[in-house]
């Protein structure tokens, strides 16, 4: 038993690490760069600053988000890519730097060019002149299109401009043109086979994944990319509502569906059984967002019956606990109904199937033959032995407290976890979104773990078999 639980825990940890790796990789592919976003927000109303200052500020932001370190403990890059890739605080610049190296094999010139472009952009935005319009447009374009053709077009425009007195800009101009020349010389040499040889680099603990997972385990979820409030407080305030909705509706669903499922398995083949199975099948096929829309259309709008509010949780004007509770309950009737009927349909089918299988077993016949009452046979012998799928279902409650009612929350505008995640996606607040994903995944895994331990309570044989019922 103890060994079984230990083994299960081991699997839990390994699975969690692999899932966290997958979600981390996905989160790094998300569009938008928080560093650029913070820079733009902070720059408002700021006095002109030097390029060094600007870079330092950028570096500081990247550092606070751990984005100035490599993504993982290990990296495999072509030999030509130097270690200093992460001196570029912005993700787009980093990507461009690597691409330039791949096509030209000139790391120093690539870095010089990208740095110079940053300098030019800053300088001409500080001293706008009519002559710079073309240059500015090209700079904006070169950020999206990285190929050499575009770089040459930029070089042509930069070459024409006479900066006259501005010595700083003139110096940058000459060095930029020099870098571009070198780069195109590199490109002219064609494909360089050094690219095919990878270099494996070990970065140690100072990497993005390590900081991310360490902080997650410690419970520090960082700041929201959107409004820079701590993700933790946003999640806490949302969690309450999702938990209320899901716990109430799952309890309701269990209370209604278990007697119905057991009874229809007991009366298998009867009209009652057939009706229950048809109704549960139909409920299961009803899209919850449609039911919710219909509810709002017919029960919550002035056109038809206006019985319930169409969304939200009320004003919260009354401070008295009881009246506030009534107000909230009144607002939650429709959402809870919509979550309940779906769970109901699913659980009835599961309970009925499991009970039906059990009731066909020999020991039930024995129990009946020895003269036990139907009720005793049904609940004590039958129900206890069909608990397996119920435990599996029960383990779904944990993750449901986070992701169980996404659509319903959005439709009824309830500030719960689902709506928080959805708005996070629309606002590209990836830190918030992936924290929620991680929490939901963690709870699913914990639910599975809990279910596995509960299985052994119901059926101790599991923990005794050679491979613990895991494999064959």
């Amino acid at each position: 038993m103890f060994r079984y639980i230990l083994l299960r825990l081991g699997y839990f940890v390994v699975t969690f690490i692999v899932v966290s790796l997958a979600l981390f990789a996905l989160s790094r592919m998300a569009p938008g760069d928080p560093v650029d976003k913070y820079m733009a927000e902070d720059a408002e109303g700021m006095p002109y600053e030097s390029y060094a200052n600007y870079q330092a500020r950028k570096q500081k932001i990247a550092q606070s988000l751990y984005l100035d370190s490599p993504p993982f403990y290990l990296s495999i890059t072509p030999r030509v890519v130097p270690r200093n890739v992460y001196s570029f605080a912005s993700r787009a610049a980093r990507k461009w730097y690597k691409q330039l190296i791949y096509i030209t094999n000139r790391p120093a010139d690539a870095k010089g060019l990208i740095d110079n472009l940053g300098r030019i952009e800053l300088l001409i935005s500080q001293k706008p002149k009519a002559e710079y319009v073309n240059l500015k447009n090209e700079l904006a374009r070169i950020k999206n299109v990285h190929n050499m053709e575009q770089i040459h077009r930029f070089a042509n425009i930069l070459g024409i401009i006479e900066f006259e007195k501005d010595k700083q800009l003139t110096a940058i101009q000459t060095s930029t043109l020099q870098h571009i020349n070198n780069l195109s010389a590199g490109k002219a040499q064609g494909f360089h086979f050094g690219l095919l040889l990878p270099k494996i680099m070990w970065h140690g603990k100072d990497n993005q994944y390590h900081h991310w997972i360490k902080n997650f385990v410690k419970g520090d979820f960082g700041l929201s990319d959107f409004d820079r409030r701590p993700v933790k407080t946003r999640i806490w305030s949302a969690l309450k509502w999702t938990m209320i909705i899901n716990i109430v509706s799952i309890c309701l669903a269990y209370l209604i569906s278990i007697p119905l499922g057991v009874h229809s398995a007991y009366k298998a083949g009867s009209r009652f059984d057939k009706n229950v199975s048809w109704i549960s099948m139909m409920l299961y096929a009803l899209p919850s967002f449609w039911v919710a829309t219909m509810m709002i259309t017919f029960f919550a709008s002035s056109e038809w019956l206006h019985l319930f509010p169409s969304g939200g949780l009320g004003q919260g004007s009354t401070n008295a606990f009881l009246s506030r509770m009534v107000e909230v309950a009144y607002h939650l009737v429709l959402p809870i109904f919509c979550v309940t009927y779906l769970a109901l349909a699913f659980i009835i089918r599961q309970v009925r199937g499991a009970m039906h299988n059990t009731l066909e077993k020999d020991f039930i016949k024995t129990a009946k033959a020895k003269g036990l009452l139907d009720k005793q046979v049904l609940w004590k012998h039958g129900f206890k032995n069909s608990l397996f799928p119920l435990i599996t279902l029960f383990s779904n409650i944990l993750p449901a407290t986070i992701a169980g009612s996404v659509v319903i929350e959005i439709i009824f505008s309830i500030p719960g976890m689902g709506r928080l995640a959805f708005n996070g996606i629309l606002q590209q607040d990836w830190n918030l979104v992936f924290t929620i994903m991680m929490l939901a995944t963690l709870l699913t895994l914990m639910g599975t773990l809990l279910a596995d331990v509960l299985y052994t309570k119901v059926d101790p044989r599991i923990s005794l078999t050679k491979n613990y019922g895991l494999g064959e």
Partner: protein, 421 residues
């Protein structure tokens, strides 16, 4: 069990499935939906099938098809304005004389069966939604999206699920044996394939940033990666031959693949679908299809595995082994074909849930392109105008009926296969 026997068994299974009236009705309904999605342009279109204007004969719908196929240079006969406004000598219109995206600004939010404002000849049978888009035409157009997403996504899911489930169930933890050099080759090959795929995508995508090219380059990069993996694995195979390495290690395929399934299952499906679809700035139905396939393969794999665990100990597999067939050909030619019934069950349920998922994310406004009409999107319009009940009822009914039809068929196969045993 010979293949002749199996075909016979499959045929009788299908006959038995279609024996119940509910399943028969569902099969007809799915057939109708297929018909709608294939011939939708001839059922709902804002151009006539045949028209005679000022003595000239036109076949506008056929013409636009020919144009799309590159057979005709003219997009459609240019008569200056909307086909609805013309006066015809003779014309033959589709049953629904609108396309899903046709705007009818004078008739926005018309309820069904009421007279239209501009031209009473073209009625909106099931009413109109925002900007006067016809509901009936939208439903026909939405059928195509629903079926394409449901069927193709589950096709891919079944492909992955069959492989994973078959290997996990058939080989178990002890019978998948590889020499150590091949295991090393596999691991290095996997890493190298990721490396070269990533690298080639980075290099190629510098030149062209259009979404079409990016998609093309994405798949070419994967091809490069696969090539690298095959090369390195082939190398390890060669080394194995040269040095005559005989000793092999059992790879616990079942445990590994079941862990993989648990990992995929532990990520909440709707959330990951919303997140990944939301990550792409360019919307595409293919993105939705691939994510749904990625979510749904695990269910199929589990069923196939359970079935193969049972089948692999049966007599006919043992006798196939005795004839000296290789393990892989026993697996694919004898074991897997006999496990097709549970796969059919999960496919039927899978299509239903895929259609539901697509409708859900379209309803939330993520995923499918803006111009394409889908059932979920039509339902979303009903949220903005609660008095327009027809916008809520008709598309919802379609989703419900479609999901129900696939579920009934799946349920029926399940009942019968249980009886069969």
């Amino acid at each position: 069990m010979g293949s002749e026997n199996r075909h016979q068994a499959e045929r009788t299974l299908w006959q038995a499935v279609l024996h119940s009236s509910a399943a028969k009705g569902s099969a007809w309904f799915i057939g109708l939906l297929l018909f709608f999605s294939i011939f939708g342009d001839f059922i709902a279109n804002d151009k006539p099938l045949y028209a005679k204007v000022e003595g000239k004969t036109y076949y506008p719908i056929f013409n636009s098809y020919a144009h799309a196929l590159g057979l005709s240079d003219i997009k459609h006969p240019d008569l200056g304005s909307d086909w609805h406004d013309l006066t015809f000598d003779k014309s033959l219109w589709p049953i629904i004389p609108f396309s899903g995206s046709t705007l009818d600004l004078q008739n926005t939010y018309k309820s069904p069966f009421t007279a239209t404002k501009k031209n009473n000849r073209f009625r909106h049978l099931l009413g109109t939604g925002v900007l006067g888009k016809d509901v009936a035409a939208g439903i026909i157009e939405g059928t195509r999206i629903a079926l394409v997403v449901g069927l193709i996504a589950i096709f891919f899911a079944a492909l992955i699920g069959l492989w994973v489930g078959a290997i996990a169930g058939y080989f178990g933890d002890h019978y998948f044996r590889l020499s150590w050099i091949k295991i090393v080759g596999l691991i290095i090959g996997l890493m190298m394939s990721i490396y070269y795929a990533h690298l080639s995508f980075q290099i190629w995508s510098v030149e062209d940033q259009s979404i079409f090219m990016q998609g093309f380059l994405f798949f070419s990069s994967i091809a490069v990666g696969l090539l690298a993996a095959v090369f390195i694995f082939g190398l390890s195979h060669l080394l194995e031959r040269i040095f005559r390495i005989k000793s092999s290690i059992a790879v616990p395929m079942d445990i590994l693949l079941m862990r993989l399934i648990e990992i995929v299952n532990s990520i909440p499906a709707l959330l990951i679908l919303l997140v990944v679809a939301g990550m792409f700035e360019q919307r595409s139905i293919w993105i939705v299809i691939f994510i749904i396939a990625f979510i749904k393969w695990t269910g199929i794999a589990k069923f196939v595995r359970a079935e193969l665990l049972r089948i692999r100990s049966l007599d006919f597999i043992q006798s196939a082994r005795a004839t000296g067939l290789s393990e892989w050909s026993i697996l694919w030619r004898h074991a897997v074909p006999n496990a097709m019934t549970p796969v059919l069950i999960t496919i039927a349920f899978g299509v239903a849930s895929a259609i539901l998922l697509e409708a859900t994310i379209s309803f939330l406004g993520i995923g499918i392109d803006q111009e394409v009409m889908s059932w979920g999107k039509m339902l979303a319009q009903a949220r903005d105008k609660s008095s327009a009940w027809w916008l809520a009822i008709f598309p919802g009914m379609m989703i419900f009926a479609c999901v129900m039809a696939f579920n009934i068929i799946g349920d029926r196969i399940r009942q019968l296969s249980r009886l069969h045993e």
